[in-house]
């Protein structure tokens, strides 16, 4: 049960279900990371610091009243967009992509900030608009969503770009986007598919999709990853090979074992049973989010909880789908499990905000 612990002058806002399940998931994640990094204690210690800091951040961010987020949401998104531009100019280039902003002690992946800022801003923009959302507001929202999407996409980072895009669309949809508009635009998108294919996808992205459709068509070897990932998962069988016994991960056949493909390591070492257990944590967290959304105090909170939890779920599904080979490879971490800084912290931030939305009640209701 979400709690509000009241002391003399101030209250502490806290949801024990989310807090415990996320903490557990993070700790299990550390345990998996130890194996995926082939027993590299440094990696695990660094990750533990992020996890500890993340949990602290989650706690802190659940304290302010939702009105704080509502009021400052414009500021957040402006800040986030400024950071994106800063990245464009000052960012560190890795493998031809500029995604990181160096702060000396910490490199920030700025798209992770905007992934949260965008849905909150849209929720604060749409929460008082009458149903269904008018064409004008739809157009304004979509413009913003597309603008932000292109900012991320141009880094280039198609994976995160899609998540950001979906985050915006979720809010718009949950806030009451008219069905008429949905069906019309869906039809238009299908019709414009060839145009998008030719003008908006980089050659390597097109190749990934082609390879995905036809694995034998693989001039750049991008299906090596997915092949090795499938071998890792499949060879885990029902019960798995045992902790640190996964040959695919330990002998480096599995690429990106600590980040994008950590799920394959878990599947190899703990089998089908192991991943069912792991996924039940995620399942529980999502169910809890639905419950919290239903019981949120107002439309803004509902939209924010719904939107952020869907961002979380989408990230998870994109990661899982990619690792088992049902969608093309796009870089996408497994929330709370994969090694990472910004991407890991972004989910603690998101859940901090979700808890804030869920635990603050307005005494005076209309």
């Amino acid at each position: 049960m979400k709690k509000k612990l009241t002391f003399k002058n101030f209250s502490i806002y806290f949801d024990q279900y989310l807090f415990i399940s996320i903490t557990l998931l993070s700790v299990i994640g550390l345990f998996f990371l130890y194996s995926a990094s082939q027993g590299d204690l440094n990696t695990v210690i660094k990750q533990s610091i992020f996890v500890g800091f993340g949990l602290f951040l989650m706690f802190i961010l659940s304290q302010p009243d939702p009105d704080f987020y509502k009021i400052f949401s414009s500021l957040f998104i402006v800040l986030a967009i400024v950071l994106m531009f800063a990245t464009m100019i000052f960012g560190r280039e890795v493998n031809g992509a500029k995604r990181w902003l160096n702060f000396g002690f910490f490199t920030l992946q700025t798209s992770e900030i905007i992934k949260i800022a965008l849905p909150i801003f849209l929720a604060s923009y749409l929460y008082n608009k009458p149903l269904p959302i008018s064409l004008k507001h739809t157009f304004i929202s979509l413009t913003l969503i597309c603008f932000v999407f292109f900012l991320v996409y141009s880094q280039p980072d198609l994976g995160t770009g899609l998540v950001v895009f979906m985050a915006g669309i979720y809010i718009l949809f949950l806030a009451g986007l008219s069905w008429k508009f949905i069906f019309t635009s869906f039809g238009l998108i299908v019709l414009s598919m060839p145009f998008l294919w030719n003008n908006f996808l980089e050659p390597f992205q097109r190749q990934r999709i082609l390879t995905f459709i036809d694995p034998s068509n693989d001039p750049f070897g991008s299906s090596w990853n997915i092949t090795q990932s499938k071998i890792a998962i499949g060879s885990g069988g029902m019960n798995g090979k045992g902790y640190q016994e996964g040959s695919q991960a330990n002998l480096n056949f599995l690429p990106e074992a600590e980040t994008d493909f950590i799920f394959a390591v878990i599947a190899e070492e703990f089998g089908f049973i192991g991943i069912c257990v792991l996924l039940s944590f995620f399942f529980f967290i999502l169910l809890r989010c639905i419950y919290l959304a239903f019981n949120a105090r107002d439309r803004f909170c509902r939209l924010t909880i719904g939107g952020l939890s869907l961002v979380f779920a989408s990230t998870l599904f994109i990661n899982l789908g990619m690792v088992v080979g049902i969608i093309p490879v796009v870089g996408m971490p497994m929330p709370f499990i994969s090694k990472g800084g910004s991407s890991l912290l972004s989910f603690y931030i998101a859940f901090g905000i979700i808890i804030s939305m869920a635990t603050h009640k307005k005494l005076m209701q209309k």
């Binding site: 499949g234 002998l251 439309r299 509902r302």
Partner: protein, 612 residues
Amino acid sequence: MIDLNERYAEKKSFFNRLVVVYVFFGFVFSFFLYQTYSLQVSEYKDYETAAIANKTKEVLVQPVRGIIYDRSGKIIVNNVPTYDLIVKASLIKSIDAFLSDLSPIIELDSDELDYVRENFDLKARYNRELIVKKNLSREEIAKFEVRGYKFPNAFIDVRYSRYNNYPELFSHAVGYVGGVNNDELASILNSQSLPQIETIFKYSNGFQIGKTGLESTYDQILRGKFGKKIFEVDARGRFVEEREFIKPTNGENLFTTLDIEAQQVAYDQMDNRRGAVVAIEIDSGSIVSYVSTPSFSTNAISNGISSRAFNALIQDNDKPFFDRASQGRYSPASTIKPAIALFGIENNIIDWDFSMEDPGYFILPEDQRVYRGWRKGGHGNVNLNKAMIVSSNTFFFSLAYKSDINKLIEHLSNFGFGAKVCADCFNPDKALLPTPDWKMNNLNFGWFKGDTVNLGVGQGYLSATPLQLAYYSTILANKGNSKELSFIHEKKDIKNLNIQLDNINGLDWKRLHQSMIGVIESPIGTAKILQELKTYKVAAKSGTVELVSTDTKEDYKIIRENEGNRDHAIIIAFGPMPDPKYAVSVVVENGESGGSVAGPVAIAVLNSLIDK
């Protein structure tokens, strides 16, 4: 502000929409679970196999070749250990530092240094061993043993070299081994159902294959079967640990019928003259001696020879690589006469009582052409026995003149002329038994009566290898019975090649042997010079191969100024009589006299074989 109804509608819409999204997610999730289930449960076997295939790497382990023995069990070819300095490349941080530390102990020449520097990175990356120096000397080994503690990642290991204990004696009989090209390697591995993959070598020269002689003929038996080492490897192909070792099956040893002593005698007797000696154990048809001279060192060829020395061998006018024993073509000359005599008796053209006048030449009735004997004035009245002993050409010219050429050819082919006579010799030449068809096809001329006459004294187009002559000698000794020649006593697929001669009885054979004994023992015998060289009786027939036809001795003296024009000396012999055990043939190129030049070689070889 939104009123309550609107607020309710909004909430309901939100729930509906959230449910829509989650239902969609539910489908996606189910599909994901289904996919995972099929990977991990339905298709588990396939992926397990794939994971194992990923991490295992098989490496072949070379077998050691079989040892080759002589007939008394003495080793002819052995595998001699050589000691190589080897490093575990992946454990060495700086190869230059290592080499400079090593230089006071073991010196490397610039080729060796280049090899190490070029290969170090690759070997280190894949955790493979790197051979730093091959064939360490005793001194180097001793030095390394003392100061080796400074080099924990280097060690000395045994690699073998194929080593012939008598490198020049058996160079043509046993042959040598050498490296293989890709096609040969593929076919060898294919015969053992193995892929062409990385191999751990037992020989410092890597893959070895018999190139000539017995090493080649019996390569499959000597070679052995490759073993396997199975390693766990990582994604980069680096060895992580050894999992399994299936030992190679070393090659079978080869017990030959060769006799080192007789071989040595034959080789010494030839004294680097161009020629060949082949000796046969009559009962079994086994080859006990097989020499072609001049020779070369098989060890040098197999284990390293400078290109200058190699070029010198290649360009040597005496052609040491040429196997004269099975590939040298020589006219049999007068050694053919016993076979012609048998033909005469078999076909009732002559008998032992028949005699004729030998004026020293034969005139062909058709065109009055003169065919000369070797002795001016001839041998007077000659019967078959005398004709054999004094080697009367006139007698055999006239006998051949009366012969049917086709029958004669068939008769000679039964004695191995123009035929394959050895089961396991390396690349034996069939030489030439000329026929009218052959002459028409190759020389565009019909067969003349004169050609048949020439055949009667083993001159003309007829040629034979020393191996064929030894086989012929064996048949004569064994009264028409013979086996295909072989280097291996127990060889299973040996053919019996007995000759059917209906008209020849035991007495005829005895008389023939007597006449051949007379070649040495008679005071008028062409090889009487050999009488004192032995303590038992030997049957023989000498021959002198005319390379340039001359009418007078004076003419010959002129042409013999050029060594290459001199007659070849040739002899076939068998003994001890009357129950011969060994047959031998000797050819000495440009040796001039069959009896006095080739003869002593033959007798020396028989002596060494029979004295045992």
